[in-house]
């Protein structure tokens, strides 16, 4: 986290001059310098970083130049929208990629499996913005079933969360962005699940399960799938990073009012504190997801459970 903060802070200087964006053309050089002094931008790098780090420990990641509010608050306000989008995408990936991967592993010669493999290779190489733009073209413009931008109607849940998950309009708006995000992530999971499952199916315990006369369904979904998921879970955690990168693109294309969209705006406005704060929050999310993933891994894998008890 310290390294993330250092890096995210270091790039502030390189993004451009925030003052220029703030005041426009009519302000004289002296006045600009005065503003720079007030903001502490003329101090040395380490002094600036020290000031930033001291604040960061107390939860103050700087103040956004544009919103004139603490950067953290601005981001947290947008967090639910991004989380909802990411959550839906992950659910879609799990629901779709697991059966596809399993099918491709059990019946590698089946026409559907071959088709899946071809599609996933294509999916791996097509960038998400093309997928997203195609989705908009097909579903919004040609078929006109789903709106192409915004979050639609939201509803407050538990008094702290503006959610689009509970209104029909909100769900409709969620459809395209989460679908494109899911499609971008899916190929790698389909291929990974397929590869792992094929390996597991070769193992002795699967053969033993067959020799016990168990049903194919039980062998595939109880004996093999659980073992298949162990490495998939680990990779899933690492893919959280990719997910974040993809939310930036997806949100930009669909004008989704989340963190990614905010980040793009912040970059173009040279709102450096906001950019740094975003990077730090994302770093935090990354750490949290990986911890969660490790915990889930421990739940699934009994050998890890034992180790955690120190036996």
């Amino acid at each position: 986290m310290i390294i993330i903060s250092l890096i995210s802070f270091a790039i502030q200087d390189k993004l451009g001059d925030p003052v220029q964006q703030m005041v426009g053309m009519t302000v004289s050089q002296e006045e600009r310098n005065q503003i720079r002094d007030e903001l502490g931008l003329n101090d040395g790098f380490f002094l600036q970083y020290w000031r930033f780090a001291k604040g960061a420990i107390h939860g103050d990641l700087g103040t956004s130049y544009y919103y004139k509010e603490p950067a953290l608050n601005v981001i947290l306000e947008k967090l639910p929208a991004t989380l909802e989008l990411a959550f839906c995408a992950i659910v879609l990936v799990v629901i779709v990629a697991t059966p596809c991967g399993v099918l491709a592993a059990i019946k590698p010669r089946h026409i559907l499996s071959r088709l899946l493999m071809v599609i996933s290779s294509v999916g791996l190489s097509v960038p998400i913005f093309i997928i997203a733009i195609l989705m908009v073209y097909i579903f919004s413009i040609e078929l006109n079933i789903a709106p192409s931008f915004g979050r639609g109607q939201t509803k407050e849940v538990f008094g702290l969360w503006e959610s689009g998950l509970f209104t029909k309009d909100g769900l409709k708006h969620l459809l395209l962005p989460s679908l494109s995000l899911a499609i971008a992530l899916m190929p790698i999971f389909v291929r990974l699940i397929r590869a792992e499952m094929m390996e597991v199916l070769q193992s002795e315990y699967i053969r033993f399960a067959w020799s016990k006369g168990l049903s194919a369904r039980r062998i595939y979904f109880k004996h093999a799938l659980k073992n298949t998921m162990l490495p998939v879970i680990t990779v899933g955690g690492i893919q959280a990073g990719t997910l974040v990168a993809y939310t930036i693109l997806t949100e930009t294309i669909f004008q989704w009012p989340g963190m990614g969209f905010l980040f793009m705006d912040a970059v173009s406005r040279v709102d450096t504190p906001l950019v740094s704060a975003y990077l730090i929050v994302v770093g935090g999310i990354f750490v949290i997801t990986n911890t969660l993933v490790d915990l889930i891994y421990g739940l699934v894998n009994p050998t890890v459970r034992l180790a955690s008890h120190g036996l």
Binding site: Q202, S203, E204, Y205, R207, F208, A209, W210, S211, K212, G213, L214, S215, A216, R218, K222, H223, K226, N227, L230, V300, N301, P302, T303, L306
Partner: protein
């Protein structure tokens, strides 16, 4: 009627460029409660024979021709559903390496109970009782505790006991044990072997013991099949095979036992090694390693002939028998 009869079984491996024969014209029978052994070096096709009995040869292997009959039912013609009925319930298997045989993410109990419940309709509780009783039967201490544990919490010998318990769950007619003691500690080998023997004897279960160790075989099996490069080369009562081996390969195997060598001497071995499936020699497959090989052995495949209580496929034995027969004629 024989409990199990395998006749003229051919198993092939379907490779990209060629068809490789893994089992060639294998025949044998097994009676109820009988214990037979299949011996041979690695690569002889012993394990493939074991797996083909329940039609569980991994790809790219397949049964090319021949028949495997369980009483009157033809196993080679069964569909998956019928096979599932047979597997576990009529014919159960014990695998070589107990460390790899149990699923690491499921508890011992889960793996035992599912076997029972996929063959008979009984409640979880009843199945659990049976499982615990069988665990007790294979001399596992505190079976209730083991029931909820995962495989990694058990030692190798203990796991093999669990596996033996698991094949006993449904009181099968036949147990196929593929090198059940090879992966175990020497001290535990004898225990497991004894356990297997007692269990088969007490319950009248027929046993097919696959092993490369004639020492192990002599303690357990009544009859022995010696395999070499996909062929059965000798078959007969175990005692007969050990005391009076006919085929030069069997003789070589016996000579290779450490007990056959005086202390301080080099261990005997059969020169050369088993040919791979792709480079099987012409004629008798053993001829390149056989000290008695003749021109005939290099060209023709010896037939299986009766020699006393055993059967053997070797020209040497065949010629000897013919000579005896001629002498008999001359005398009379």
């Amino acid at each position: 009627m024989n409990l199990l009869s395998v006749s003229n079984l051919h198993v092939n491996f379907h490779m990209k460029e060629q068809e490789l024969a893994a089992l060639i014209d294998v025949s044998f029978t097994l009676n109820r409660g009988e214990r037979i052994a299949i011996v041979g070096e690695s690569g002889a096709g012993k394990s493939i024979l074991g797996f083909s009995i329940v039609n569980l040869i991994g790809k790219p292997g397949y049964i090319k021709s021949g028949s495997i009959k369980l009483e009157s039912k033809e196993i080679t013609k069964m569909n998956l559903r019928q096979l599932q009925e047979v597997r576990g319930k009529r014919i159960a298997m014990i695998f070589q390496d107990p460390m790899m045989t149990l699923n690491p993410v499921l508890t011992i109990g889960d793996q035992l109970v599912e076997t029972i419940r996929s063959h008979t309709k009984i409640s979880y509780k009843d199945a659990r009782n049976i499982a615990i009783e069988k665990l007790h039967h294979v001399q596992i201490a505190s079976p209730e505790k083991r029931f909820n544990q995962y495989p990694h919490e058990l030692s190798g010998g203990m796991r093999q006991r669990v596996i033996i318990a698991s094949v006993l769950l449904l009181n099968p007619d036949i147990i196929i044990a593929d090198e059940p003691t090879t992966a175990l500690d020497v001290t535990i080998q004898a225990e497991i072997l004894q356990l297997l023997l007692t269990i088969c004897r007490d319950n009248g279960v027929a046993l097919v013991l696959i092993s490369h160790d004639l020492g192990v075989v002599s303690k357990v099996a009544e009859r022995t099949l010696v395999m070499y490069a996909g062929h059965v080369v000798e078959e007969g009562p175990t005692l007969e095979i050990i005391n009076d081996p006919q085929h030069p390969y069997t003789q070589g195997l016996l000579n290779a036992l450490p007990q056959m060598t005086l202390p301080g001497q080099r261990l005997n071995q059969i020169q050369g090694s088993m040919p791979s499936l792709a480079e099987r020699p012409t004629g008798c497959a053993f001829h390149p390693r056989c000290p008695y090989a003749t021109q005939k052995c290099r060209q023709e495949q010896p037939k299986f002939i009766y020699s006393g209580v055993s059967s053997v496929a070797c020209f040497l034995v065949e010629d000897m028998l013919n000579e005896f027969a001629n002498n008999d004629k001359e005398i009379s």
